[in-house]
Symmetry: C3
């Protein structure tokens, strides 16, 4: 299967997800052997209008592992022609004439879709503002499959800043592709999951419930997906932030009640919402999850550039 633009989680069906996961598992083996040369002569441009060193380095490492080349800008918003008034469309047209694939991070929802419309080469959305972050969703699903062994029938607690997390939104979209999923939202009042996602789950017959007792939920689910409370979204309301930030922490007490084969995930970066005492527990899957990002991105680049 050859892929083109990667804009949003919903664009994938179960079949194409299976294909991507198969290629990703091949990529794990290639990475272990030190990489390959199948993207020799191909150039990836990373155009980041807002900083995300981690995501950028993950894409760049994936491209290099497959023998490809990079051109890159870490802060397109401040430094590129954007500051002089150039439209995203013009920037993409130009960069698309230099590169074989563009990885775009932007601060506006819908930017990746606008870019794809004019780009002469495939565009990968690496996060567009409050919109989507589809490669994160793919690596999340891939991690669940690898760790739990299946996707149908799993139960997952989404915890933390559900209102503002692009990550849990994209993940929720992807989970609707699977059967008998149970989703539990555990969020401080000020950052509860928004209606659009709840409606989407309802429409796709996915069970969900809003819960307040993290300990109880933690004892029942296969996956705890923790997220950081995003201070930058609270503006002046720092009181609200302070209250929200310490409400749901994953620590040793949560570990005690969790199922033996359950896992803890987190899109990272984490601040205090997972205690570092948890890191050494085998159920702490978040660093393995980050590593899976490398394999998923290698798979996508291969499927886009050589099919």
């Amino acid at each position: 299967m050859k892929l083109n633009h990667i804009i949003k989680a919903q664009q994938f069906d179960r079949k194409s997800l299976d294909d991507i996961f198969l290629v990703a598992s091949q990529m794990e083996k290639i990475a272990l052997k030190g990489g390959s040369n199948i993207l020799h002569g191909k150039t990836m441009a990373t155009i980041f209008y807002e900083p995300s060193t981690r995501t950028r380095l993950s894409f760049e490492a994936a491209m290099l592992k497959l023998g490809g080349e990079l051109i890159s800008t870490e802060n397109a918003r401040e430094f590129s022609s954007t500051a002089k008034g150039e439209s995203l469309e013009d920037t993409i047209r130009i960069v698309g004439s230099y590169a074989d694939v563009i990885v775009l991070r932007h601060f506006e929802s819908g930017a990746a879709e606008r870019a794809a419309k004019v780009s002469p080469v495939p565009v990968i959305n690496a996060g567009d503002g409050p919109g989507q972050h589809p490669t994160q969703a793919l690596l999340d699903i891939y991690t669940i499959k690898k760790e739990i062994g299946k996707l149908d029938g799993i139960s997952i607690a989404m915890v933390g800043d559900l209102a503002n997390s692009r990550t849990v939104r994209s993940l929720a979209y992807l989970l609707t592709k699977y059967n008998n999923i149970k989703v539990y939202f555990v969020a401080p009042d000020v950052v509860r999951m928004r209606g659009d996602i709840k409606n989407y789950l309802t429409k796709h017959n996915v069970f969900f419930a809003e819960e307040t007792d993290l300990k109880k939920v933690s004892s029942q689910v296969d996956v705890i997906y923790q997220t950081r409370i995003q201070k930058e979204r609270f503006g002046e309301n720092l009181d609200d932030f302070e209250k929200a930030k310490d409400k749901y922490i994953i620590d040793k007490d949560i570990l005690k009640v969790m199922k033996k084969n359950a896992i803890i995930m987190h899109p990272l970066p984490r601040v205090n919402e997972i205690s570092i005492e948890v890191d050494s527990d085998p159920r702490a899957a978040y660093f393995r999850q980050a590593q899976n990002g490398l394999y998923i991105r290698m798979a996508l680049l291969k499927m886009i550039l050589v099919g």
Copy 2:
């Protein structure tokens, strides 16, 4: 022909321009076939004291397409030892001991020439303040030759911020190498072409005229070279800027009067000075022009590093 430092448009004669254009057209074919490996083992340093993501990525893509390697800094002014008081000369001496060629962008006119004086390796001027931007001039001339089929005898309208555009200055220098050129300057009063360029054209027997009626001029010329009114040059005089910015716009009305085989060029970025309705007209050559920058830079790197 082996090239060394590339500092200003005037350094090239007709013969060397022909050589560069011949190599550039070979580079187009190489780029289409996915690149080559002739610069394997060579390293290019891009040292940019002021941001220009587009120019930097164009040089970097050119180097990669020929199999070379990159070291790069996007904002040398703020982050390098310059902030600690180091001279440009010292920086160039050091970087020149790491790299095989230095691409320099600087905020001061004459910086590239100063760098070339001490550099152990060739220096390419990628814009020095209000000074020159010779690779842009080369790609502009190359574009005219490709699109119009000749350079002798052409007529060109230079439109917009002629006082501050490094690009039109460098282009004017290069046009004097050709015969029977006619140049029309169409600029808002506050940003008219400066005397030094007019004197240079006079001295080299190039016809020029200052015009105010863009429509009339557009109906007569082979090339309309539009430029952005550079807000950053107006300081406090935002009234002047506002008046200048909307004075000469290329839109459908201009398309209607243009000759069938004429073209519209622009060094980009553009803001509103070319309406996007113009983009789909085959005479809109500005995105092809940007692409030509890749081939010209590939040609220069080859001619500098391997001859």
Copy 3:
């Protein structure tokens, strides 16, 4: 010999220094021949929390000369997840899952050691705040050996901002590995060498003296190691800075009294503390010293990644 983390100058004994210098001299030959491919398929991450374009480019050029690949961030402090509250440890764990070696520059003393504790791959300290800069110390010692022909028995004047220079501190540690070293400190009063280094030298039986007459000292030593007075360390006390800055300048008068085979070193950047009239004297070794940094870093990367 295979190396692992490179954290501080003291970690090396005389034998391992000899090994590194032997490999570095092989690297000089490889660099002259245009590089090699022994690090093909290996990726180096440069994670810089404070800017140091020179050091970063030196490491990157070294990696490229050996056929390796790069992922890089120039300003991790401002742009990475650090701004969102992520710990250095988490960042290193993630980046270590993408790269084969991490080059870390950080603003806090001890950061490299903390990173090494959690990193899945070797960490090279490229400067940690007021702490250490071990690769600079290695290239300094290597330069002395190459230029003077020996290390035992040499006399060295350390001049300038001895209180704040990470470089002279690391160099002092390394000098204790050799016999009959004589060290002269020549510093403005406000930035005299600190007690910890003096105690370390005393403990290791290295002769040192504090002097005030640069001319007299210059006539006696094999090496003058000049450093920049670091304005940024003076805070509000700009009077103190102004007085310190012009106190000890290396100029033609110093050249006149220096021994014929002595050398002048400087970690660069320099401002006014070495007059540019000195540059053309064969005893001015500072640009050769910078070039040696490339060979030392090539050697370290080879010894870390392939042994």
